[in-house]
């Protein structure tokens, strides 16, 4: 189970420029159980966005946004609504946000912070990985996680070892920051990289906070094991 918690409302609203239209996509998997995705997320974000002057072009819950192939397939039904939107807000863990960003040529922003992955069972790990930093940066990085695509987890661009788009670790390995740069350039949002990010709280990704252990998902976790 991937444990996530909602980002502060002001932070998410701060991602949107005045009047931007949004498509809201919520995950019907772990995030639904954690209360950050599912119908609950649609109920929460719909009025918040509309009151802040961001019309919704559409909203839906899709099961397990971590599965990129299924996301692409199922989003096809909403193609027109997605196309009319300026941005897509994704209520899921960091994997779901990255998988969605991979299948859309639009800015894709997170509405949650991913804290831990818990014990993953029988999972086919795909390319989009989440660093569980508890302070999701996918808005700033074009929907590509800097913690997992850069071996050094750098937050302000490539190190001096990046050359021709390749990482210093081994030939042929793409530089994660070159990918982020290219994606933001294509989206016309290189301005996001000119912003300073203070050091993150490393404790956030280490364990599930006590408050979240009281949430229904925690009980469900134990039910599953019985």
């Amino acid at each position: 189970m991937l444990v996530s918690e909602p980002k502060p409302t002001e932070e998410v609203l701060g991602y949107l420029r005045a009047g931007e239209r949004a498509f809201l996509l919520a995950c019907g998997g772990c995030a639904e159980v954690c209360g950050t995705g599912g119908e609950e997320a649609l109920k929460k974000w719909r009025p918040v966005l509309e009151e802040a002057g961001h019309p919704l072009t559409g909203a839906t819950v899709l099961p397990f946004l971590c599965n990129k192939a299924l996301v692409g397939l199922r989003l096809a039904r909403f193609r027109e609504q997605v196309e009319r939107a300026d941005v897509v807000l994704v209520a899921s863990c960091g994997v779901g946000v990255q998988a969605t960003a991979q299948v859309l040529d639009k800015p894709v922003y997170p509405t949650a912070n991913t804290i831990t992955m818990g014990g993953l069972q029988g999972v086919w790990a795909s390319e989009e990985r989440c660093g569980r930093c508890g302070d999701c940066l996918l808005y700033y990085t074009g929907g590509i996680c800097p913690h997992t695509v850069c071996p050094k987890g750098l937050l302000h661009g490539p190190c001096g070892g990046s050359q021709n788009g390749e990482c210093e670790l081994e030939p042929g390995r793409p530089c994660g920051w070159q990918r982020i740069y290219d994606r933001l350039k294509a989206l016309g949002r290189l301005d996001l990289l000119a912003r300073y990010r203070p050091p993150q709280d490393s404790q956030k990704g280490l364990d599930v906070p006590l408050a979240r252990r009281k949430a229904p998902f925690w009980a469900l976790e134990y039910l599953e094991e019985d």
Binding site: K152, L154, C159, G160, L193, P199
Partner: protein, 292 residues
């Protein structure tokens, strides 16, 4: 006069790399420093360069400062978290070290302890911001310090890297967070260097061009292939190839360095020499380039 005063006055400065020993024998490192002391303004001491274990940078810096010379402490983000970095910075200041060069650091797998856990708790931009916080009398958590630092903060940039876009963006962030000078990867193509300078001249931060004497055509080819941002033009490699003996190669190497220095001098505020064992060539290089 200190490095910061020289740069503030617009003086053309010369810094030279110094490597701490692999072990505790410091005589050779200090001897090299003493031999070059009258030729360069400051010694830039590497921090486990290429992730190969050596003595701490701050230790050799402190010994250099004790001899009356000016050290620049290289600090990478590879091996220390934000607590250890700040602790070493406070200690370095107390030991008389006034200049710091903030770098990301190579990945551990490039060195002689490939299984080491990489830290990278901060990145180079955040490290610069941290040093500036200490300069303001506060730690990274905002707590007040009893006695602050007043470091002169440097950063690095690799002008030969392709594509350059993301590196220039990061350089701008470094300057915005308080980098007071920049030092570059080795320059062999002065035309490319000039183009790079044009792109960043609005920053108004002094830039020191990196200079590495070529030891052979083979070394040049190796660097072109393996070191990010180093591009030795084919005609320069040919020049080295024509030198047959070691003495001839040294002479040719000095000529190439001096030529590059003369070409880049109008576009930067100093040079940073990385002799890599050919420390003995430094006085000749400086003389031939008209700097002494």
């Amino acid at each position: 006069m200190r490095l910061r005063e020289r740069l503030a006055k617009g003086e053309f400065v010369v810094t030279c790399e110094a490597a701490p020993p692999k072990g505790t024998d410091i005589e050779k490192a200090l001897e090299d420093v003493k031999k070059l002391a009258s030729h360069v303004h400051a010694f830039n001491v590497t921090d486990l360069q290429s992730s190969v274990l050596r003595m701490s940078s701050w230790a050799l810096c402190a010994l250099i400062a004790r001899e009356g010379y000016e050290p620049i402490l290289q600090m990478t983000c590879r091996d220390r978290n934000r607590l250890a970095l700040q602790a070493d910075l406070l200690g370095a200041w107390a030991l008389g070290i006034e200049n710091v060069l903030a770098l990301t650091g190579d990945y551990p797998t490039l060195g002689d302890h490939p299984g080491a856990r990489p830290v990278f708790d901060l990145d180079s931009v955040q490290l610069i911001a941290t040093i500036q916080a200490l300069n303001q009398g506060r730690d990274l958590a905002g707590n007040e310090l009893q006695g602050s630092t007043d470091f002169f903060v440097g950063a690095v940039v690799n002008p030969g890297v392709e594509p350059l876009g993301p590196h220039v963006l990061k350089m701008r962030l470094k300057a915005e967070r308080g980098a007071q000078f920049f030092q570059t990867q080795a320059v062999y193509d002065s035309e490319a260097f000039r183009k790079f300078i044009r792109e960043v001249e609005d920053l108004e931060v002094p830039i020191l061009a990196g200079v590495i004497p070529l030891k052979s055509a083979k070394m040049a080819r190796f660097m072109n292939e393996h070191i990010a941002g180093i591009r030795v033009p084919e005609e320069v490699i040919q020049e080295m190839e024509r030198a047959k003996t070691k003495e001839e190669r040294k002479k040719r190497s000095v000529e190439i360095c001096a030529r590059i220095i003369r070409e880049v001098k109008p576009y930067c505020q100093g040079i940073h020499l990385m002799p890599m064992g050919w420390e003995g060539l430094v006085p000749e290089i400086l003389e031939l380039s008209g700097l002494t």
